[in-house]
């Protein structure tokens, strides 16, 4: 046994490594078969090291995961993604105009939330992070309502309390967003356990970024999901970056995030998150498992964060040159558009027209929302409301503090 000095391994961003993409564990479109939903976990362990893809390079839908969407559904998926992107662009602009303090875009990741939502039923509950605005937009949740939250104005249903983008919409199956990473992951498991305990039929979806899988609550969620087999889909959105750190700093250098599930006996899929059809098919599969009481599924959605982390961030400070341009899975909107055109259900003209239409819709909404005030000017929720909802009934000391405050 040698005793030469030890050294510490410090990961560097993966795409830097001489164009080596082996860590992406790519597969060909159609190359991974769709197993029955009641498959045993140990039969599909290999799925964690492959990538479920439906759309091939020519925009054709191939393989056994294809065929879960009608053309109409695909067009509405395209619409949802385009609207999400238009919304993001507008909101980021409003932040630059100092109408609010902060904004977070999901550019490049739209397919995941939009297609996933399409696989759920009313009553199901998402426990999202800050990058799943697509869940709301895909349901045609009013964007004015979302904007009022971003602007912290008088119509903000969160009463100006939360950071922009921290929506809450129980009617849309959208749990209140927490600024503390990963906390909602285990809560989703608890919600799903409750659903099972009550003999309900509703399922929960937990959401987390690949960077945040390092947090404690990710593990707690998997442990409880492993033991009680509740109806929950454990989504990991691997967009390669966590603020300035590459997925290698979260452990992605040595294995995949889908593989995390194996240690808990939870089946895992690994899916091209920029392929609307693949996302929809995989989501449906996992939702059906959950609904049929077959237990949890973890899905790693492989995608790329095209935008800065937030409006406070500047990726040029840390992203290696060429990182984004060498990304292999493309843009989800372009890919679905190409597919629809390939099957003769869409055209460049209709695409441009739809974009114009949506930009217009978003602009109108933005004007309406600003009419209710912005963070920096105009109406906002009364300061006195700050003392409400701390408890169901305001206790004496808060009543006194409100009085002391003069509000």
């Amino acid at each position: 046994m040698t005793s030469s000095p030890l050294t510490l391994h410090i990961p560097v961003p993966l795409p830097c490594r001489d164009g080596d993409f082996s860590h992406l564990h790519l597969s060909d479109a159609g190359g991974v078969d769709r197993p029955p939903v009641d498959v045993r976990e140990d039969k599909i362990r290999g799925f964690a090291f492959q990538l479920i893809r439906v759309l091939d390079d020519e925009g054709r839908a191939v393989g056994s995961w294809s065929g879960t969407c009608s053309v109409e559904q695909l067009r509405s998926g395209l619409r949802a993604m385009l609207k999400t992107r238009a919304y993001d662009v507008r909101m980021a602009m409003m932040q630059r105009q100092r109408k609010t303090s902060f904004y977070m875009q999901c550019t490049g990741e739209e397919a995941i939330a939009c297609a996933f939502q399409a696989a759920l039923k009313p009553g199901d509950m998402n426990f999202p992070t800050y990058r799943q605005q697509g869940l709301l937009i895909a349901q045609d949740w009013p964007v004015v309502d979302m904007m009022c939250q971003v602007l912290s104005n008088e119509r903000d249903r969160m009463k100006g309390r939360q950071l922009p983008v921290f929506y809450s919409a129980p009617e849309a199956g959208f749990f209140s967003i927490s600024g503390n990473l990963a906390t909602q992951y285990v809560q989703a498991v608890g919600w799903a356990m409750a659903s099972a305990m009550r003999g309900d039929t509703r399922v929960a979806a937990a959401w987390i970024g690949e960077g945040s899988t390092a947090e404690n609550d990710f593990h707690a969620a998997l442990v409880f999901a492993s033991v009680y087999r509740p109806p929950v889909i454990l989504n990991v959105v691997n967009n390669q970056w966590a603020i300035s750190t590459n997925q290698s700093v979260a452990g992605g250098e040595w294995t995949t995030f889908a593989a995390r599930a194996h240690g808990y006996g939870i089946p895992a899929l690994r899916v091209d998150g920029n392929d609307y059809l693949a996302v929809h098919a995989a989501a449906l599969w996992a939702v059906e498992r959950a609904r049929r009481n077959l237990g949890p599924t973890l899905i790693e959605w492989v995608t790329y964060r095209m935008a800065p982390h937030s409006t406070s961030d500047d990726p040029s400070k840390y992203r290696p040159q060429g990182d984004q341009s060498s990304w292999l899975l493309g843009d989800p909107i372009e890919r679905l558009k190409d597919h629809l055109i390939a099957i003769g259900a869409w055209s460049e003209e209709r695409h441009i027209q739809l974009k114009v239409e949506l930009d217009e819709e978003i602009s109108t909404a933005a004007r309406e929302a600003q009419g209710f005030g912005t963070l920096m000017e105009g109406a906002k929720c009364s300061p006195a409301s700050m003392f409400e909802d701390v408890y169901k009934v305001m206790p004496r000391h808060l009543r006194e503090q409100r009085q002391e405050s003069g509000f």
Partner: protein, 337 residues
């Protein structure tokens, strides 16, 4: 009326509420099959089934995390942390999530959960089975913090906590689980059956949160205490023969300030007793509020008798413990100034 130990009273509160409300679910480490290391949940799994009362993995953050999710779903989870000393892994879910969910979602969601945890020393549990972390909860807006001193209150307060729509931290002083221990560790053990507050009404009743109670009327000095220290304070009064008024706070947040102020206004003197370490303990908040509201009534400085600012030791447990001697000495000192 039956005479019960605190363990029996707690178990009965859970039993009553599980029978009344099928949204009430009970879980934690070893609470299901075995019935809890202190036996507080004994028999509940047998009676209500394993999906109403069950064992969890050893993950305090998971326990509270799933409880928040269940609460948001509409259940009334009652989670047990095996010892308060082990609540730290769950602290994030308690503070960042349970406590703030209603506020941050403007009432869209809430987490009506109860987190029970045995606290306090006196059982040779050393640093990891003796802590009194109440001040770490009282600082957190959105939480209620409760700590009973006897079987009657334990049952009534626990029922109130389960019915409450906000997250409640329910601290159970383990040294008085089986008897009204007054700090005289060298004397024979006294069982609850000899104490009138072991008389516990059958069925459903509530001791409302936020109401303190005067355990002993007195004219000379006010003692503010809770949990085991109520009994220690009584023993101290007896041995030094000072006519103290003893207030059992029962709920720390929201605090029953009226009862406190009324008493100190009358006596003009105040001694605060708790087992937790002194610096930034809940006694500090009490002292701050008492001096604020009773400044012109105070004859002398408010005194705190507390655990020392050290971890809880094993062999020197009784040297750490703020027992009747130390409380008695403080009373005498306060009366002399």
């Amino acid at each position: 009326m039956p005479r019960w130990t605190m363990i029996e009273a707690i178990r009965d509160a859970l039993n009553v509420m599980m029978a009344r409300d099928d949204r009430v679910v009970v879980f934690g480490q070893d609470v299901g099959r075995f019935g809890g290391v202190f036996r507080c949940t004994d028999g509940l799994q047998g009676k209500y089934g394993a999906s109403r009362c069950f064992d969890t993995p050893i993950s305090e953050s998971g326990i509270v995390g799933v409880a928040v999710g269940m609460g948001a779903y509409g259940l009334r989870p009652v989670a047990e942390i095996q010892f308060a000393d082990y609540m730290y892994p769950a602290y994030d879910q308690i503070v960042s999530e349970a406590a703030r969910l209603r506020f941050r979602s403007a009432g869209d969601f809430s987490a009506p959960l109860v987190v029970r945890m045995p606290c306090g020393g006196g059982i040779f549990g050393a640093q990891t089975h003796s802590q009194s972390p109440e001040a770490l909860f009282t600082h957190v807006a959105g939480l209620k913090t409760v700590i009973p001193s006897n079987p009657h209150d334990a049952k009534g307060l626990l029922i109130a906590a389960i019915e409450d729509d906000d997250p409640v931290i329910f601290l159970e002083p383990k040294r008085i689980y089986n008897g009204p221990f007054d700090g005289h560790h060298d004397r024979p053990v006294v069982p609850w059956s000899t104490h009138e507050l072991s008389e516990t009404p059958e069925g459903y009743y509530m001791v409302p949160l936020g109401e303190a109670v005067v355990r002993r009327e007195g004219a000379d000095v006010t003692i503010l205490a809770y949990g085991t220290m109520v009994h220690v304070a009584e023993a101290a009064c007896q041995s030094v023969g000072i006519d103290a008024e003893i207030i059992d706070l029962r709920t720390l947040v929201p605090l029953d300030l009226e009862t406190v102020v009324r008493s100190v206004g009358k006596t003009g003197r105040c001694v605060i007793v708790h087992e937790a370490t002194r610096t930034s303990g809940f006694g500090a908040e009490l002292a701050a509020q008492v001096q604020e509201h009773c400044f012109y009534h105070l004859e002398t400085a408010i005194v705190r008798v507390t655990g020392w600012d050290t971890p809880y030791p094993h062999a020197q447990e009784w040297d750490y413990y703020p027992g009747p001697d130390r409380v008695g000495r403080a009373l005498t000192r306060v009366m002399e100034t």
